[in-house]
């Protein structure tokens, strides 16, 4: 099955997306990739990310009557995912940190995707080092900082959407993002 959401569905306005709650399979197809990606980036474990994704849609299905449309369907699903990931991380804190420090898969993938671009080998190596540094730094961030960092810089969500998804105030989100960016920049400075 192809996982990419159709552009037609992606362009749907929030009310239409809410209406999709009736057609749950369409909803899953539309957002599954996004939820899985966020879970994978947060947990760095494919099995755990898959479990969180399944649980996220199960919870959404069970609670679909309570969706109030005061946020987008995507934000609502991310809110569920954030809670599931938090529970998962807290239950398996030790294992998570062990994995977080060892995993380097996106960096390997980055090497392949960046090889296509017109850059000198030196520039490419430097950029790959920076991506690796960001990945390492993101893995070492405190839970809340990591969550808002990934929602902002991987999922492209704005501050208000992140605030709704995480249940934080917008100002708090900004503070966590600010600290996360500082830590990431320090990490880049230390490695390059």
């Amino acid at each position: 099955m192809h996982l990419s959401a159709t552009s037609e569905l992606e362009r749907a306005i929030p009310a239409d997306i809410a209406a999709l709650a009736g057609d749950f399979e369409a909803l899953v197809l539309l957002y599954r990739t996004k939820v899985f990606r966020f879970a994978l980036a947060s947990l760095r474990d494919v099995d755990a990310a898959e479990t969180v994704t399944q649980d996220c849609f199960l919870r959404a299905y069970q609670a679909r009557e309570r969706f109030r449309q005061d946020c987008s369907m995507q934000t609502w699903l991310m809110q569920i995912a954030v809670n599931l990931i938090r529970d998962h991380t807290r239950n398996r804190r030790v294992q998570f940190w062990k994995r977080a420090n060892l995993t380097a898969k996106p960096v390997d993938v980055a090497g392949r995707t960046m090889a296509d671009r017109a850059r000198s080998p030196e520039a490419q190596a430097l950029l790959q080092e920076r991506v690796a540094a960001i990945w390492t730094a993101a893995g070492r961030l405190p839970e809340k900082q990591r969550t808002v960092f990934l929602l902002r810089f991987v999922e492209d969500m704005d501050l208000l959407e992140i605030a709704v998804a995480t249940g934080m105030k917008e100002g708090t989100v900004k503070t966590h993002l600010f600290r996360a960016l500082r830590a990431v920049r320090e990490r880049i400075g230390a490695t390059v």
Binding site: L58, V107, R130, W135
Partner: protein
């Protein structure tokens, strides 16, 4: 004009909410502009790398697990119903069976006690009862 942007000021700019002084400095300072461009490029590549990795893993992981997650509540409730039924049968059996056994034991005991009563209430053993009729009672 400030010398160069600090790490915090660069972060401010990346988050899209720079102060007026920071915004003006970026316009005028090629070094800080280059620094920002490098950081943005690294963040962009990071996003691309995570997305590419996720797509590779998703194609494998989510395809294996099937299309749409079926609600497990129905399966769970069926299992729960069976478990409750078995538990109920066990509870009823634990109440009914000892009572039945108790009732049959009590019946046998009553018959025995009656026999004992009859024997005890006799003035003489049954074999001597004909002789007792010959005894004149005062």
């Amino acid at each position: 004009m400030i010398a160069h942007l600090s790490s915090d000021q660069l972060s401010e700019y990346i988050l899209g909410q720079p102060s007026l002084i920071v915004a003006r400095h970026v316009q005028d300072c090629p070094a800080c502009r280059a620094e920002l461009a490098q950081f943005r490029e690294a963040l962009g590549e990071f996003r691309g790398a995570v997305r590419a990795w996720s797509e590779v893993e998703a194609d494998q992981a989510l395809e294996i697990s099937g299309s749409v997650p079926q609600p497990r509540s129905w399966a769970v409730s069926q299992q729960l119903a069976w478990a409750l039924l078995i538990a109920a049968v066990c509870v009823i059996a634990s109440f009914v069976m000892p009572r039945q056994r108790g009732e049959s034991t009590a019946g046998a005991d009553a018959v025995l006690l009656n026999q004992v009563d009859v024997q005890v209430s006799r003035t003489a053993p049954s074999s001597m009862e004909p002789l007792m009729k010959l005894v004149v009672q005062e």
